[in-house]
Amino acid sequence: MDVLYFAWVREAVGKGSENVAPPADVTTVTELLDWLARDSVPHATAFADRTRLRAAIDQQFVPLDALLAGAREVAIFPPVTGG
């Protein structure tokens, strides 16, 4: 799946997107964050405070405990501040 990052999350991770293949036991957005953070200091730093993170699956806003369920594109970002 493609994982996209925006705003300060993008800066903290150090890239705007990556293609990853998490194991089958990674079933939610939170578990995906845990898995990405396990071996990477930038990811761990970016994902340290989950209250500051929001997510979208296939371009729909979802809560962090949402199931990945065949997601093609997962985006991780701060709360939005447009308008």
């Binding site: 996209l4 925006f6 705003a7 300060w8 979208a56 371009q59 806003f61 985006a75 970002f77 701060p78 709360p79 939005v80 501040t81 447009g82 308008g83």
Partner: protein, 145 residues
């Protein structure tokens, strides 16, 4: 008629208004958001999520059109770097009568604060920081639910 746009070019208000007038509208309401000049911001940058942004704007415009029986709705949002005084966003709504146009305009600006994937980054003298979301924006969007 629904029209949404995400663009790096300046927003042309006259062109946007021309697009919502007609089709039986007796009233057109507009909201224009500008980069504030009064708190030391030199540059404001807007980042967005290409693809999702356009879909999100289209979705809130469609909801507003159904809810307020609009004849037309337009949302145009700038992205990229801009300076104080420049337009960030334009919302224009058209309806047979003024109350629907005015209410829909307020509805749209509240909803797009919380429902569209944009992020603001402010640069002052020498420091840049990402703008934190405000609880008051959530509350403003919530009152329409």
């Amino acid at each position: 008629m629904i029209r949404v746009g995400v663009q790096s070019e300046p927003i042309d208000v006259a062109a946007a208004l021309a697009a919502v007038e007609g089709d039986g509208a007796g009233a057109v309401a507009t909201f224009t958001g500008l980069v504030r000049a009064d708190d030391g911001v030199a540059v404001l940058e807007l980042e967005h999520y290409p693809g999702m942004t356009e879909a999100a704007l289209e979705a809130v415009a469609r909801e507003a059109t159904d809810r307020f029986a609009l004849t037309a709705a337009t949302i145009i949002h700038r992205v990229g770097a801009m300076r104080p005084g420049e337009r960030i966003v334009l919302v224009a709504t058209a309806a047979p009568h003024r109350s629907a146009a005015l209410d829909a305009c307020a509805y749209l600006i509240d909803r797009l604060k919380t429902d569209a994937p944009f992020w603001k980054r402010e640069t002052r003298a020498d420091a840049a920081r990402w703008v934190e979301a405000r609880g008051t924006d959530d509350a403003a969007a919530e009152r329409w639910r």
